[in-house]
């Protein structure tokens, strides 16, 4: 029993509240200090983490609402360790960029930023299904305000669409989760939503099937995956850059993380039942995302659709139900988050240089007087398209290995996505950085602020490319444990088919 995770979890919110009470100008620094403290704490945890141990570490387990069987249960294992670090590091970068920009109603803005960090960390740390859903939904509140209050263009419409899309999924998931908890309770037993308890209890396979579908709906919307990505274009156009970077890098991971944390271990039969469907969704997302990313004119949307493709890879890796695939998926969650934050921040820089213009056609020639910007962009571009030598390459390779093992056809189709990624990313890079100088583009070097936010992230990307086993050896054991039950079922099914 430790208090460490509670400190990490509520530190951002606390600084947000303090910031709201401080004079107008100081709120941003309070919240920034909070995100830095969380990052420091997360890094200490990262090095203190015992990679040889099984199960959860730094567990916090208290009664919260006993009448409904909801416990305040937090814990870290290989599965969420790096996601917590990713959250912490992304929030530092984005808060830093936002803090130096003039914000209207700054206290409110930074309060929502802080609340958002607490909610996301809560969703990653929760080890109780109800607690997870509470944080999963709570996340929407700050983002609703951040998009609607500080976005551009048709922001109210965009934020309403975003929240309704996401909540449709997550409220149905709530219904499914309560049903799961009640149906799993044996006669005379106490209602409980603790994941550890749910893993031991069992739910009839018929119920598992529809409950898994409700969960998948919530997670696919959040990710987003084809065909539930309807909220993406408007939201990505209207959201301000720092918020968008967080939305794309971190929030998208909560959904896919939910599969590994909840769906596969708690409802293995149900997951195995829908394995084929989910793989098809993943492969479609890869192809659809890649093709659309290639045909977009708005630079934000290029990255938006490339994210759909990347998340398709992650889901493919998870539902290949093979050890390698799942490891690759977990690794890709981290990698994708790490490249998307700098990508969006760079897009922000490019857009300012072009007077707010975000059309690929009208940009160009930026690298001319901005070699550092171009270099940073090039590294993230290579990482995104999974150039050999980058961590993303290893991640995608593991995913594809997992898929090849017994879903060969899907694996082959998915590998087209790897090729397409290099096409749209290089197109994006060339059209903005090289070519003739665009009509409204202005070439000048990256400013110190953005350098300070982007360079450390790029350094981490490079470091992971050089030393990927740092991540893989810490995540391996937990990941394999989580897919164990479903994997066994899937192998059984194959054996019976062969017979």
């Amino acid at each position: 029993m430790t208090i460490h995770l509670s400190i990490i979890l509520f530190l951002p919110l606390a600084t947000g509240v303090i910031g709201a009470l401080l004079p107008r100008g100081l709120a941003r620094w309070a919240v920034l200090a909070g995100t830095l403290a969380v990052l420091a704490y997360a890094i200490v945890l990262l090095f203190d983490f015992d990679s040889s141990a099984r199960g959860l570490q730094y567990v916090t387990d208290d009664e919260w609402i006993p009448e409904l069987g909801i416990r305040y249960q937090l814990g870290i294992d290989g599965l969420n360790l790096f996601l917590v670090v990713l959250t912490a590091i992304s929030w530092v970068a984005c808060t830093l960029v936002a803090a130096f920009r003039e914000q209207e109603r700054a206290r409110l803005f930074f309060f929502h930023m802080a609340l958002a960090e607490t909610a996301v960390l809560g969703a990653f740390l929760a080890q109780d299904l109800a607690l997870f859903i509470i944080f999963f939904d709570l996340m929407l509140v700050p983002f609703y305000f951040l998009i609607g209050g500080w976005g551009t263009g048709d922001r109210v419409r965009a934020t309403t669409k975003f929240v309704i899309y996401t909540l449709v999924g997550s409220l149905l998931m709530l219904g499914g989760a309560i049903a799961l908890g009640v149906l799993a309770t044996p006669d005379g037993g106490e209602l409980s939503f603790s994941l550890a308890v749910l893993e031991e209890r069992s739910v009839p396979e018929g119920s598992q099937q529809w409950i898994v579908l409700l969960f998948a709906l919530a997670f696919f919307v959040k990710a987003p995956l084809f065909p539930l990505h309807g909220w993406v274009p408007e939201t990505y156009r209207s959201t301000s850059i720092p918020v968008l970077a967080l939305l794309s890098a971190v929030l998208s991971k909560v959904g896919v993380y939910g599969f590994l944390r909840i769906v596969l271990p708690v409802m293995p039969e149900g997951s195995q039942h829908w394995q084929e469907l989910f793989i098809i969704v993943a492969v479609f997302s890869i192809l659809y995302g890649s093709i659309l990313a290639f045909s977009q004119d708005n630079i934000r949307l290029v990255v938006a659709y490339s994210s759909i493709a990347q998340l398709g890879f992650i889901v493919l890796g998870i539902f290949a139900l093979e050890d390698k695939g799942a490891q690759g998926a977990v690794f890709q969650m981290l990698n994708h988050g790490l490249v998307v934050v700098p990508l969006f921040l760079i897009i922000g820089v490019i857009a300012t240089r072009a007077g707010g213009n975000q059309s690929v056609e009208q940009l160009g020639g930026m690298a001319f007087r901005a070699p550092v910007l171009a270099a940073l962009f090039l590294i993230t571009t290579f990482a995104t398209l999974a150039m050999p030598g980058s961590a993303n390459f290893i991640g995608e390779l593991l995913v594809l290995f997992g898929a090849f093992e017994d879903k060969l056809v899907y694996g082959l189709v998915a590998s087209i996505g790897v090729v397409l990624a290099s096409v749209y990313m290089i197109r994006l890079f060339q059209r903005t950085m090289h070519n003739r100088v665009g009509p409204r583009a202005r070439s000048s070097e990256i400013d110190g602020l953005h350098l300070a936010a982007i360079a450390p992230l790029v350094a981490v990307i490079v470091a992971l490319g050089v030393y990927p086993s740092f991540v893989v050896e810490r995540t391996e054991r937990s990941t394999v444990d989580k897919i164990q039950a479903a994997r066994a079922l899937s192998t059984q099914a194959e054996v019976s088919v062969i017979r």
Binding site: E67, L68, G149, T160, I164, L171, L172, G175, I178
Partner: protein
């Protein structure tokens, strides 16, 4: 021997009946004192006496609170058990809120302070009697005592057409509802041969009447219809938006919260006690009504620009959620209903208090435009409204979330999983109109394609100038802030409410 001596007077337990005495006494005193002409008496003393009378009732209720004691008093006519007492707390809180919101309202000035407040106390008395009704006569007396003062109260803004219309509409439709209910009660009596709930239950348990007796079923159907009118359950809800919109807002607040709680109190008692054994007969019908109500209420609210109409439709939807707790007919269902009624009170009072505050000063009445940019101009009202809307929509960390969680839990547990899913779908639809309110407050001008309302001149209210009104309405803002804080508090720490709910559930000890 004279005739009088042959009639045996029932034994009355004055201790248990004391909250009712406090209210009736207050009713008479307030009416009399209100006849004095001095402005001090009318504007300060009368509301104060009303509040004192309610507070005495609260104190007495706590004094006689005794979980486990379920014996009815007055020859079995009235049960002052934890179900009655627990839910009557909601009536008292709603009454106190109505007093605070009425302090500077037009209605009290126009209609006479004494009459207004004394009618309010009369209505609360009716609710307590209704919630505790243990036989069919008490039930009917309670429902009439509750309704008749409300018909008048709705029409207290004498110079506003909408208010008069609202009162008349409520009177006509309420009377139809009462007549239907009375007919239903008569048929139930005819079928079972007993006025007492206890007697009805034992008649159903014995061989005297089968659960599928047509006379009984017709009686139950008509009773459901009558009560559905009061609780604004679809398809008997049509009066709700008009009446809610036309009535003075403090009265709307009181009606939305307390009347609903009273109607559900008697439903819990009637279906959970008297008719518990014929659950298989009435539950499917009620379940269909619940699902219909959820859909109709939520869809109806989408097109509303008037906040009071929107909240009226939303209250219809909430009635549907609450009905789920009655349908399952389990102890868990009773607890979930009681719990949800409590958080329903918190979030609705918050929302209505903000409407009252804005209606007085904004010049847009209760139109959505009255809230525009409230986040910047008055965050002390905008935050409570935001919390109320998020809680009504069922966002986590609010009481509304826990309440819905509990109701869905009870539905699934009572083998009505589909009704749990209906609640979820209802919440999804409700996002559209709740989030619209939040967007109007925080995200600037918000266009929806509905007719705009011309600005309204703000009238001076009872000795307060309009300027003073715009500056401060401390009591209205205080209500909004306190109830919003409670909504959050019970979202994070619901244990006290759960304790009360489980006491309330224990009153119907026969349920599983």
């Amino acid at each position: 021997m004279s005739l009088l001596a042959q009639v045996q007077a029932p034994e009355i337990d004055y201790k248990l009946l004391s909250p009712v005495f406090a209210l009736v006494g207050g009713c008479v005193v307030v009416m009399m004192v209100g006849l004095l002409r001095s402005p001090f008496v009318r504007q300060t003393l009368v509301p104060a006496l009303t509040a004192v009378s309610i507070l005495i009732a609260v104190g007495l209720t706590i004094w006689i609170w005794d979980p486990g004691d379920t014996n009815p008093i007055i020859e079995g006519a009235l049960a002052m058990d934890t179900l009655t007492l627990g839910l009557s707390m909601l009536f008292y809180v709603a009454g106190l809120v109505a007093i605070l919101l009425s302090l500077r309202a037009d209605a009290t000035r126009v209609a006479g302070q004494g009459e207004y407040y004394s009618l309010l106390l009369g209505s609360i008395t009716g609710m307590v009697v209704l919630a505790g009704a243990e036989n069919l006569i008490t039930l009917f007396i309670g429902i009439e005592l509750l309704s008749i003062p409300l018909y008048v109260l709705c029409a207290t803004e004498l110079f506003k057409r909408e208010s008069l219309e609202s009162g008349l509409k409520y009177l006509v439709i309420g009377s139809v509802g009462s007549a239907t209910l009375l007919y239903g009660l008569a048929l139930v009596y005819g079928a079972t041969g007993s006025m007492q709930f206890e007697g009805i239950a034992s008649a159903l348990g014995g061989d005297e009447v089968s659960a599928t007796d047509p006379l009984l079923l017709t009686g139950i159907a008509l009773t459901i219809t009558g009560l559905a009118f009061k609780a604004s359950v679809a398809p008997f809800h049509q009066w709700t938006p008009d009446v809610y919109q036309g009535a003075p807002t403090p009265i709307t607040t009181f009606m939305a919260v307390a009347t609903k709680a009273a109607a559900f109190a008697i439903m819990l008692r009637l279906f959970g006690h008297a008719l518990a054994l014929s659950q298989l007969e009435w539950a499917p019908a009620l379940a269909v009504l619940a699902a219909t109500t959820i859909v109709i209420g939520n869809v109806g609210a989408i097109a509303q620009r008037s906040l009071k109409r929107m909240l009226a439709w939303s209250s219809i939807a909430q009635a549907g959620y609450l009905l789920a707790g009655v349908v399952v007919g389990t102890n868990l269902g009773v607890q979930a209903t009681a719990f949800y009624l409590a958080v329903y009170l918190l979030m609705n009072v918050t929302a209505f208090a903000v409407v009252v505050a804005r209606e007085r000063v904004s010049g847009y009445g209760d139109d959505l435009a009255a809230l525009e940019n409230l986040g910047q101009s008055n965050p002390w009202l905008a935050w409570p409204m935001t919390i109320a809307m998020l809680s009504l929509a069922g966002f986590p960390a609010t009481g509304g979330f826990i309440g819905k969680f509990f109701l869905i839990d009870a539905s699934v547990d009572g083998d009505y999983t589909w009704l749990g899913i209906a609640i979820v779908i209802g919440s999804i639809i409700s996002l559209v109109y709740y989030l619209r309110v939040v967007a109007a407050m925080w995200m600037g001008r918000y266009e929806i394609e509905l007719p705009s309302v011309p600005p309204r001149r703000v009238k001076p209210v009872s000795g307060w100038s309009p300027e003073a009104d715009t500056r401060a309405q401390p009591e209205v803002a205080a209500v909004a802030i306190v109830f919003a804080a409670a909504t959050i508090l019970f979202g994070l720490w619901p244990d006290p409410l759960f304790d009360v709910a489980s006491d309330v559930g224990s009153a119907l000890g026969t349920l599983r």
